[in-house]
Symmetry: C2
Subunit: 159 residues, 2 copies
DNA sequence: GCATATAGCTGTATCGTACAGGTAATTCTG
DNA sequence: CAGAATTACCTGTACGATACAGCTATATGC
């Protein structure tokens, strides 16, 4: 191995370490931010509820199993989340016409509205936080995060 | 407002939405990944323990309050985590010589070793996941994540 | 048409976390 | 410098998110 290759390998290792660090930090900060933002708009829509509503909005009504598979959650977890959402009138259950065992979950208008409000609040938050970033940097961040997620997701599903 | 400005504003809004989406996704995937990777090396060191050990390693021995403040956690949470870590021999408590109320927490060699192992495993994971990324893209991701975290952090602390 | 699989639910357990309240030590203040 | 306020930590308690195991009802394959 040439010195050059050695150096490149080493710096790659360092970069991977930085990514590991930053992702860990982001998860921690994201949690803290979510909790802190909770006062006003999040108290009304906790984490899982938001994810489920987003997913329903993005990919249409579907049954519990499909949600669970897509969100990498246990079916029982989704069942409970969905029950809570139904209690709050944010989603509706309907018997699956094509499968007597299943129930199809769809967001109610109220659910979509609530979801959109949280989404807007978060988007505003990012706008605030990234106020001094160039559009290019923002765009690059969004793109690279997207690629990272795709890579992580396909890796998660592969095994 | 000119059409041009309108367009730029709109696309910025879209970008912020993408960032919001991707961060939410990353948090979810990160959790799932952590849980999935758990089988081997994480069972032995759960999330909070890892963060605490990393922080101790990075910034030296310190008391519970300092850890709590830095990690945005309640003191009681840190107390319990530290107790668990102590039970497992990964950190050591010593009375703070400068303050009779406090206890200084330091990582034990075993703790550092455990932490390094998890860190290495995760870094390897990222190396695996990002195998087909260019060094430039990896570096850019690390940098932008760092900037995002810094922005999030200072925002979190400001209020 | 019976055996097996699947969809969803419920019981139970665990983990991470917060908040409230307690005790001991420290620091401030008149 | 003595009492008041603060701080550091711990403990009790509660909650939310999650998983796994086991149940029932329906579907599906041989």
């Amino acid at each position: 191995m040439s010195d050059d290759q050695a150096k490149r390998t080493e710096s790659d290792e360092v970069t991977l370490g930085r990514i590991e660090t930053e992702v860990a930090l982001l998860m921690r900060l994201g949690e803290a931010t979510r909790r802190a933002t909770g006062s006003a708009e999040h108290r009304v829509l906790d984490r899982a509820a938001y994810v489920i509503l987003r997913h329903l909005d993005a990919t249409g009504p579907q049954n519990v199993s499909a949600l669970a598979a897509r969100l990498n959650l246990d079916g029982s977890t989704v069942t409970r989340q969905v029950s809570a959402l139904q209690r709050d009138g944010l989603i509706a259950r309907a018997p699956d016409p094509a499968d007597g065992r299943g129930t199809v979950i769809s967001p109610t208008p109220a659910g979509l509205h609530r979801m959109a409000a949280v989404q807007a609040a978060r988007t505003r938050l990012y706008g605030d936080i990234l106020a001094d970033w160039s559009p290019t940097d923002r765009d690059t961040l969004a793109t690279l995060l997207g690629r990272l997620n795709q890579a992580l997701d396909s890796r998660t599903r592969r095994r």
